[in-house]
């Protein structure tokens, strides 16, 4: 328990420090984009948040796979918490992306953009995970069902990520190509710091939520034993 608390504290401190550094870099160091101006600075949080959402869904799927394969205790709960984090970061991706679209393209949403629609499909797929989870009685059957569902969803991640490259989507910009990142070194550095900040934030929130859920389960068991 002592080491777990330390991990959460360290991750929270790291996330706070990295977010602070990222904001300082974005607003005081890197230049404004020549084409989009100041609104392009949304990119430094929007894309890392989207990549973090993918990472959370991927982590949730990995835990689901482990649950089905080796059945370690707590893998189902870890998968659920990771997917919950992914949905939160997914909401942030959709909202910040929508604001950026309005600033850059003049519209809040573009149905013609494959990248946007596929991300929405991925988000809705994992949102439906909670409908499945809370419509089945807790137990091994629910854990297995949820694990299979989480594994199916992970297929959508590479499709969503590669959609823009496969579909010749001219609306949504492609920054990371096979020739590397299409931006200045300082911009790429700020992007990496912002991404590390989002990953640290997601990890801190994941551990806090997981600790809360574990404590909740332990307390419920204690109460049942005492009743």
């Amino acid at each position: 328990m002592w080491s777990r608390n330390n991990v959460v504290t360290a991750l929270a401190a790291l996330a706070a420090a990295l977010v602070g550094v990222a904001i300082a870099l974005i607003f005081f160091w890197i230049p404004d984009d020549a084409d989009q101006g100041i609104s392009q600075k949304i990119f430094y949080f929007h894309v890392p948040i989207a990549l973090t959402a993918y990472a959370c869904f991927g982590w949730g799927a990995l835990k689901a796979f482990l649950h089905l394969w080796r059945r370690p205790s707590g893998a189902d709960l870890e998968s659920y918490v990771a997917i919950h984090q992914g949905v939160i970061f997914g909401i942030l991706t959709l909202v910040t992306g929508s604001i950026w679209a309005r600033a850059s393209w003049g519209v809040w949403w573009a149905w013609s953009s494959t990248q946007l629609v596929l991300f929405l499909v991925l988000f809705l797929f994992y949102s439906a995970y909670f409908m499945l989870r809370f419509s089945v009685e807790p137990g091994p059957a629910r854990a297995n069902l949820c694990a299979v569902y989480a594994l199916f969803g992970v297929v959508l991640i590479p499709i969503s990520f590669l959609a823009i490259r496969l579909a010749n989507d001219f609306i949504h910009p492609t920054v990371f190509t096979s020739e590397g990142p299409q931006m200045e070194g300082s911009m790429f550095f700020a992007f990496c710091v912002a991404w590390a900040a989002m990953l640290a934030l997601a990890a801190a929130l994941y551990h806090v939520e997981l600790a809360g859920k574990r404590l909740d389960t332990t307390l419920r068991e204690l109460r049942e034993r005492l009743a």
Partner: protein, 66 residues
């Protein structure tokens, strides 16, 4: 809206969502604290009073000399 206002709105959304999440977690922690207090009360009710808990001293074996 200007470009700067859109930028501020995007960053504000991230801040507000993270803040809302932290508030939800804080609410859950308050509930967990209440649960811990309730369980501690249940345990206290089940435990016998201190005077009954103290074990009576076992009589010393008598040793007769000679």
């Amino acid at each position: 809206m200007s470009q700067g206002q859109y930028l501020a709105a995007a960053y504000l959304v991230v801040f507000v969502v993270v803040l809302a999440y932290v508030l939800i977690i804080a609410t859950k922690l308050v509930r967990l604290q209440r649960d811990v207090a309730a369980i501690a009360e249940l345990v206290a009710e089940r435990e016998p009073p201190a005077e009954l808990r103290a074990e009576p001293e076992s009589p010393r074996p008598q040793v007769t000399l000679g």
